[in-house]
């Protein structure tokens, strides 16, 4: 984490490397907490509104991660409370049904920044996205001086622990102010309460939006949300199954940066350079390791910690010239087409849904997968509005910096007119449509430290566009089918709607059984419509709309579906 928060390095010449090493040493001496205090804008606490969102986000991410690790279907309750008599003091409470935390671990989980670094191993996880719940505690301390309050219980036979802690900004050590055993109705789970200076505002970039989107990308979780006005909303889980557990992999040589590479050389347990390459990276066999060393002209038997900076750079430079197998891609845990579709369907009311999960691919040695879910014909859509884009990275919604995100670029770059959707030059398409794009990877390349936009790698944009295009084709197939159905319905109803009038008139004019006449006319109307349909089918024989949709993860909501069937999002109610 620290690495990415540090100032960008100059190109690695030997001279600057020495500087960097010293700099790193020096930085280790500065407490991370102090660093935070000075750089809180980098971590999502730029302003009171965003700070409120970041606190919720960190706590919810923690809860979801904890539940999933323990294989418990998450139920997360988020409550925002404005302290009476104040205008900007909020208490953020996030409570989960997770496994709980043993008391000894509580200070380390909540009180220490960057606890449990995942640096040397890669795994698709939410954690990559923030600096952790401790940062929220830090922000609380800085703005209100109040400690974090934590309740946690690990099981029926275990007592619940209540802890108040705050971080010592000079030492980066958690400081327990209070600890006691308390009565708590939850059998297992954790609750954290943080008091901060914040600002609550509905609409875009709000906590509400964040939770809505989190529910879409985590259809296995239930969220209960009470906003500061006391309105309660429940986002029910749409599926009862766990996401596949993502696997950890070692970094692939193609993706490793020089600084990291050098640090790995220092930290490795391997005894030779060759052994280090084989054991600390994925897809490096002994022959690949030998080839790298040969190209770099560095001895394969050298002790890693003794490899000089210059040699390390040579090895690092040699890596891209050697052909190395792609990393395994089965380590990811995409949401999956069916579940993503259910998640979107649960939160967005529309006529048509489809989802596409692309097979995993690789950028710079990192496996990644792109998924797109699309809802078309969204209810109550303001006319001419541009599509709503929902961006996700490793199941976490990205709300800020849409303009500089690869996801936005991929959508802008898609030629929507090919799919019957209007699009002005350089703008998002205009249609009653929501597009959710999920980028899943063992390492999400963010454009900046604030981690709110995916970086523009060609391999990534290409995959995103392929997924969007497939979804776009399906939308087009649906739109065409709907138009065709409408035409057929109109033709049929044209005749059928006048049958009664015609039969009535005939019955008045001449002696005839009105019912019999109607029956005969009905039969003829069906025949006539079929004839029309056959002709229409001939016209549309080149239209393979139905073929496009066949076998895809697609849901078409029947036009006359009862509101009860569709009203999956419960209306807001007073808590």
């Amino acid at each position: 984490m620290m690495g990415s928060a540090m100032p960008k390095r100059k190109p690695p010449t030997q001279l600057t490397l020495v500087h960097a090493e010293e700099l790193a040493k020096k930085q280790r001496e500065i407490s991370v907490s102090e660093f935070f205090a000075k750089n809180r804008h980098l971590l999502g606490f730029d302003n009171p509104r965003k700070a409120l969102l970041t606190c919720v986000k960190e706590a919810v991410d923690n809860s979801l991660d904890a539940c999933e690790e323990a294989r418990i279907l998450p139920e997360v309750r988020v409550t925002l409370r404005l302290l009476p008599g104040t205008e900007d003091r909020y208490v953020v409470a996030v409570e989960d049904n997770g496994p709980g935390i043993v008391r000894e671990q509580i200070p380390r989980v909540f009180g220490k920044l960057l606890y449990g670094s995942k640096f040397h191993r890669l795994r698709m996880s939410r954690g990559q996205q923030g600096i952790g719940i401790a940062a929220a505690g830090m922000y609380s301390l800085l703005t209100t001086g109040k400690p974090m309050k934590i309740w946690s219980r690990t099981g029926e036979k275990k007592p619940a622990h209540y802890v108040e802690l705050q971080i010592e900004t000079s030492t980066n050590e958690p400081n327990l102010i209070r600890k006691e055993e308390v009565a708590w109705e939850k059998v297992h789970g954790t609750k954290v309460e943080i008091e901060i200076v914040g600002k609550y505002q509905k609409g875009r970039l709000s906590v509400d939006e964040y939770l809505e989107q989190t529910a879409i990308a985590n259809p296995h979780a239930t969220f209960v949300y009470v906003n500061p006005e006391g309105d309660k909303r429940e986002f029910r889980r749409a599926v009862e199954e766990f996401p596949r557990e993502p696997k950890e992999i070692k970094p692939h040589p193609y993706g490793v940066e020089l600084g990291v590479f050098m640090k790995m050389l220092q930290d490795t347990k391997a005894r030779t350079l060759s052994g280090f390459l084989q054991s600390d990276f994925s897809r490096v066999s002994s022959s690949v390791a030998a080839e790298i060393c040969r190209v770099a002209a560095v001895s394969a038997d050298m002790k890693p910690s003794k490899v000089a900076a210059g040699d390390a750079e040579k090895v690092h430079k040699a890596i891209p010239t050697v052909k190395i197998m792609n990393p395994p891609t089965d380590v990811l845990s995409p949401i999956g087409e069916a579940n993503l579709l259910k998640g979107l369907h649960q939160q967005v009311q529309a006529e048509f849904y489809t989802a596409v999960t692309r097979p995993p691919s690789v950028y710079r040695g990192n496996p990644f997968a792109v998924e797109v879910a699309l809802a078309y014909g969204v209810k109550d859509w303001p006319p001419d509005d541009l599509v709503r884009v929902l961006r996700f990275a490793n199941r976490v919604p990205l709300l800020y910096q849409a303009g500089s995100c690869a996801i936005t670029e991929a959508i802008l770059d898609t030629k929507w007119k090919n799919y019957g959707v209007s699009q002005s030059k350089g703008a998002l398409p205009a249609a009653p449509m929501a597009i959710a794009l999920h980028f899943a990877s063992v390492w999400v390349p963010f454009t900046s430290e604030s981690k709110e936009a995916v970086a523009h790698y060609d391999a990534i944009i290409k995959e995103m566009k392929l997924a969007i295009q497939e979804a776009g084709r399906r939308v087009y197939a649906y739109v065409r089918r709907r138009q065709r159905d409408a035409r057929q319905l109109e033709r049929r109803s044209l005749f059928e709607r006048y049958i009664e009038e015609v039969a009535d008139a005939c019955a008045l004019l001449t002696k005839v059984d009105r019912q019999d006449l109607m029956k005969r006319l009905q039969a003829m109307a069906e025949q006539a419509t079929k004839l029309h349909e056959r002709e229409a089918a001939k016209e549309e024989k080149n239209d393979n709309g139905d073929e496009v949709l066949k076998g895809t993860t697609t849901l078409v909501v029947p036009e006359n579906a009862q509101p009860a069937q569709l009203e999956l999002k419960p209306a807001a109610q007073k808590a």
Binding site: R497, Y498, A505, L508, L509, L521
Partner: protein
């Protein structure tokens, strides 16, 4: 009344036949249709001997199972049934506007009406007339009164004696049905009939008592004269042996009004027999009148594109092929201007009454 009763029975039978035909087709699993004579230029014929426009034999089947005809098919039957049930059965007569309201309702299960506007039902009534070969009055329908009449004559209108010499400034309003069972001519001192295009000129002539001085009947039809006015003219010409003179604007529309009065219209060609007055004469305004009567040049109006196009169409009509007519129309096109009746007032307010018409009639300067 016995006669009317018989007629009504005949009309009812015609309507029943229409429905029988439709039901028969349905039983045979054929697309049910109503054959409607085409009321367009393509299906009218000018009979040079009778000097009348007559309807040809071409018919169009208005079928139900045809997306563009289904609605009109339904409307035709709906009107037919309403005429039979509401009018013929009760012996009452109503306006075409009334019939529109009587038959207008929401089609069950839709938000669509059987008729949205009266403009939609009026042409269907005309279709029905030709389809079952029954006149409008035989269907117990009339249009609103249009046009007025004064003159040296007494008539009886539904039993009331009306002296057309004592009608004040407004005249007798001409009903749309003027058949002999409703309107009878009594004391007739008139020597001719003068049909004026417009109400304004008619008022001038009435105020100046033109009809008294020249012993005539004076009537107008508010532009294109409706059926009632045309039928009345035809009856006066045929029954009273009076000549008919037509006095209209000098523009293509005035020419056409004259031609409709004289030989019938394309749209109502089936009525020509009853309404056309082949002997009608055109007394003006003529495109040569401006020079002849030395009208000031500022009374003319430039022909617009629509006028010019219409005039060129008229040049091609069979019934405008006589030399004097070709000269008349070509002269108008050459000058590029039109003249309205009111232009005569520019010389003197009663110029038409005192000089123009007397001179035209005396010199027999008219077009035939």
């Amino acid at each position: 009344m016995a006669r009317a009763g018989t007629l009504d029975r005949e009309t009812a039978t015609k309507l029943t036949k229409l429905a029988d035909h439709v039901v028969g087709q349905i039983r045979k699993k054929q697309n049910p249709g109503i054959d409607i004579p085409i009321r367009a230029l393509s299906n009218v014929r000018f009979d040079p001997k009778k000097r009348m426009i007559e309807m040809g034999q071409e018919k169009q089947a208005r079928t139900f199972f045809n997306a563009s005809m289904a609605r009109k098919f339904m409307q035709t039957l709906l009107l037919a049934s309403a005429v039979k049930k509401e009018l013929l059965a009760s012996g009452k007569t109503t306006s075409i506007r009334d019939l529109y309201y009587m038959t207008k309702h929401t089609v069950q299960g839709t938000d669509e009406n059987t008729f949205e506007e009266q403009d939609e039902s009026d042409p269907i009534i005309e279709d029905l007339e030709v389809a079952v070969d029954a006149l409008r009055e035989e269907l117990h329908l009339f249009a609103s009164n249009k046009g007025a009449m004064v003159g040296d004559m007494t008539i009886v209108d539904q039993g009331d004696t009306i002296d057309l010499r004592r009608m004040g400034s407004g005249g007798w309003s001409i009903p749309s049905i003027v058949e002999p069972n409703l309107i009878q001519f009594k004391k007739v001192d008139a020597k001719f009939v003068l049909l004026v295009e417009k109400d304004a000129m008619w008022r001038r002539l009435n105020e100046d008592k033109f009809w008294q001085k020249h012993h005539c009947v004076l009537l107008h039809g508010q532009g294109q004269p409706p059926r009632g006015v045309r039928r009345l003219c035809s009856r006066m010409v045929n029954e009273l042996k009076l000549p008919l003179y037509v006095f209209v604007d000098n523009d293509p529309w005035g020419y056409y009004i004259y031609s409709v009065v004289k030989q019938g219209s394309i749209n109502l060609a089936y009525e020509s027999q009853r309404m056309a007055v082949p002997s009608a004469r055109f007394v003006g305004l003529s495109s040569f009148d401006k020079d002849k009567f030395k009208l000031p040049s500022n009374v003319t109006i430039k022909l617009n594109d629509e006028d010019t196009n219409r005039a060129k169409q008229l040049l091609n009509y069979e019934w405008f092929q006589s030399k004097p007519w070709q000269a008349e129309i070509r002269n108008m096109l050459r000058q590029g201007v039109k003249l309205e009746l009111e232009a005569l007032s520019k010389k003197d307010i009663s110029f038409a009454t005192d000089e123009y018409l007397p001179k035209k009639l005396k010199d027999k300067e008219w077009l035939d």
